[in-house]
């Protein structure tokens, strides 16, 4: 068994930077796990700490039953594929693939056989005698994967596996990687800053920020129910709409509209409470004619995304509300420029909606958008308001300290 368990894992660099802050995480055996976050969030440090290339300042790492916290990288039985692939330029493809076996003193014959076999699995047979300099980016990546596979490690670690490939190749490599991981069934952890990559590849995702994990969950959980406004703003190719809202009885006042309270939040919020209402552009339906329970506003921008268009509406603010930016000071401090987070100075709010082809409005039109039932969320002080503290919300320490 090769699950990875981290307890209170902390890494403080000599210059005082706290890259990992008492982090608890469990990665199941055979899982394809993504570490996702903006640059500087600690995801690469976490990967390197699992590999043993960084020594933890505190806490522990277990692989399977073994405590590997203080083992050197070579004794942990992990293999890593680096962003630049790190192929040795003076060795042939075969020598590169067989390198870990050579270090393990496997005899020459067995080494060559194993290299040929692994290369065959990855479609590299014709390239065995080439040197890395003569290969394309995609081929180099597969050689690096073959080298990692050749010695059958318990864990694969991939550092930004797709970022050195050009856009078209990246999609191909993504599918290839996912199939390979499924076939091998080896616990695999990869680091990425690209949320689409994480959603597409991973069985589960840990979203990180400032050395802490903000949410762990399946791609669906992370996409549909972000545990906080940071994750809400980070996940999704179009960021979630986060709009100031006020509770009024059973309803929610958003701008000038009155919307039903999201199911989750019923009984969790008090009348008059100020919260942030979140709904993804994909979960809003656009209507050119007035409909009940809708936000309305003027169409400002229409962006064509191919099969759909992203429409931005200017929604007038809540007349009863004073002091815009109330929510901005609490929940949105950590969001990465999420579209239309808090109200403008003029009391208006931008709301984005995805419109299917054929139904696009033109700028200047007035439009109505209706949230789909069960797809809207409420955030209090940046954290999701929900009935039970869901299992997907990781540690009790996750939310609070980040703004400070």
């Amino acid at each position: 068994m090769s699950a990875i368990t981290m307890r209170e894992l902390t890494k403080v660099y000599p210059n005082g930077v706290r890259a990992l802050d008492a982090l608890d995480l469990e990665i199941a055996d055979g899982e394809f796990f993504a570490l996702l976050g903006p640059s500087g969030c600690g995801k690469t440090t976490l990967l390197r700490t699992i590999a043993g290339l960084e020594v933890a300042s505190g806490g522990s790492v277990h692989i399977g039953e073994r405590n590997v916290t203080n083992l050197p990288p070579g004794k942990r039985d992990v293999a890593m594929v680096f962003q630049d692939y790190a192929l040795f330029p003076h060795m042939t493809v075969q020598e590169n693939i067989a390198y870990p076996l050579r270090i393990k003193k496997v005899d020459r014959r067995a080494r060559a056989d194993k290299a040929a076999e692994t290369a065959d699995e990855l479609g590299l047979s014709a390239l065995l005698q080439r040197r890395p300099g003569q290969l394309s980016g995609g081929q180099q990546q597969r050689v690096a994967l073959a080298r990692a596979m050749a010695c059958h490690p318990q864990v694969f670690l991939l550092d930004e596996p797709l970022s050195n490939l050009d856009a078209r190749l990246r999609l191909e490599a993504r599918t290839f990687l996912k199939r390979l991981q499924r076939e091998l069934g080896v616990t695999t952890v990869f680091v990425t800053h690209d949320q689409a990559e994480a959603l597409a590849l991973a069985d589960r995702i840990a979203v990180m920020e400032g050395g802490r994990i903000r949410q762990v969950g399946t791609p669906t959980e992370v996409f549909r129910r972000p545990a906080n406004t940071f994750v809400a703003g980070f996940i999704g190719s179009t960021p979630m709409n986060l709009v100031d809202a006020r509770v009024d009885g059973d309803e929610l006042v958003v701008g000038r509209a009155r919307l039903p309270l999201p199911e989750d939040a019923r009984g969790q919020v008090g009348g008059g409470e100020r919260l942030v209402y979140g709904v993804r552009p994909e979960y809003l339906d656009y209507s050119p004619t007035p409909v009940p329970g809708a936000l309305s506003g003027q169409v400002v921008v229409v962006e064509n995304l191919g099969s759909v268009s992203l429409v931005s509406l200017d929604v007038p603010g809540d007349d009863a509300a004073e002091a815009p930016g109330d929510a901005g000071s609490t929940g949105d401090a950590g969001t990465t420029g999420a579209g239309g987070a808090a109200g403008d100075a003029g009391g208006r709010t931008s709301v984005q909606v995805v419109v299917a082809e054929g139904g696009e409005p033109t700028p200047g039109d007035t439009g109505w958008v209706v949230p789909r039932p069960g797809r809207s969320l409420l955030y209090r002080d940046g954290d999701l308001v929900t009935v039970a503290e869901a299992a997907s919300v990781p540690a009790p320490r996750a939310g609070a300290g980040v703004q400070g």
């Binding site: 590999a51 990288p73 070579g74 040795f88 330029p89 870990p100 393990k104 003569q134």
Partner: protein
């Protein structure tokens, strides 16, 4: 494809034309001719005469053909001196300077801050001090009666320069020249990608295996260039004369010292010139060997 606006029809990049370009070159060429080519040719000429500093042969040198060369090759003292020189080059340049320089550079490769600056500062200091100053410092260090080393070790009366003359000058030259190799290797090691070293570490490679499989293949060119330069410099180095003067009993008489003694102290300019020319040939061979190895690097692919 030449731009139509160019006023000068000169085919060269600077637009000088042949005549003016030559004008710029002449002063440098004259200097090289007068101070390099002529003395070199003069040395070759002297090597086939019995020219002396004083006496009859100084006034009327005679051509003696290859006598000087046959005499040198048959001379026990010359052969000993050649052997000592090879020891000196191998010990102080290849093993000492290159080995120590690399070791320091490798040990400090990931370090920043005061420790690195301190080590680099000390190593560089020994490199920038004038030979005469350094020689004096080493004499003071190794002196039999009042030497610092004997005082430190508590063994007064130990005559380092008399008992271990070769070892003394080898260590002296290592100490003096390590800075160059260290800096060159420090720069070369910057070119070794961290991810390559880490890949080797993850495979379980020892430090030695990392050096063999990752570092040396990457910096082979730097290593050969460094060895070429320091071998030649050390081969021609005269500074040991300032410490041991070739003694005692010629036990540290490396070739430059031997030439100096024969030609200037002994006055046999013709013989000295012949040995100088042999040294030149040996240097040439060393350079060719290194350059060939350097050239082979490009061949695979």
């Amino acid at each position: 494809m030449r731009p139509a606006t160019g006023a000068s029809p000169a085919p060269d990049a600077a637009g000088l034309g042949r005549a003016r370009a030559t004008g710029f070159l002449v002063p440098a060429m004259v200097l090289i001719l007068v101070f390099l080519v002529v003395p070199a040719a003069w040395t070759i000429y002297l090597g086939v005469t019995n020219y002396r500093l004083t006496g009859l042969a100084a006034a009327n040198p005679e051509i003696v053909g290859l006598d000087n060369y046959t005499q040198a090759l048959g001379d026990e003292r010359f052969r000993t001196s050649l052997l000592l020189t090879l020891q000196f080059v191998l010990g102080s340049a290849v093993i000492g300077q290159a080995g120590l320089g690399f070791a320091i550079a490798f040990a400090l490769r990931d370090r920043r801050g005061p420790l690195r600056r301190l080590v680099e500062g000390f190593v560089l200091l020994s490199w920038i001090l004038p030979s005469s100053v350094v020689a004096f410092l080493w004499i003071a260090l190794l002196d039999r009666d009042a030497g610092t080393l004997n005082a430190l070790l508590g063994i007064p009366g130990m005559a380092w320069l008399l008992d271990y003359p070769m070892l003394s000058i080898i260590i002296f030259n290592t100490w003096r020249g390590t800075a160059f190799s260290m800096m060159l290797y420090a720069a070369a090691l910057e070119n070794v990608p961290r991810s390559h070293l880490e890949t080797a570490r993850l495979a379980g490679a020892s430090t030695w295996q990392q050096l063999r499989d990752v570092v040396f293949p990457r910096i082979r060119g730097h290593v050969l260039t460094n060895l070429l330069l320091i071998s030649l410099w050390t081969f021609n180095d005269f500074a040991p004369f300032l410490i041991t003067a070739g003694g005692p009993e010629q036990r540290s008489e490396i070739l430059p010292v031997y030439v100096y003694k024969v030609a200037l102290s002994g006055g046999e300019l013709g013989f000295g010139a012949a040995i100088s020319f042999i040294m030149l040939l040996i240097n040439l061979v060393i350079a060719l060997v290194y350059l060939r190895m350097l050239g082979r690097r490009k061949e695979p692919a």
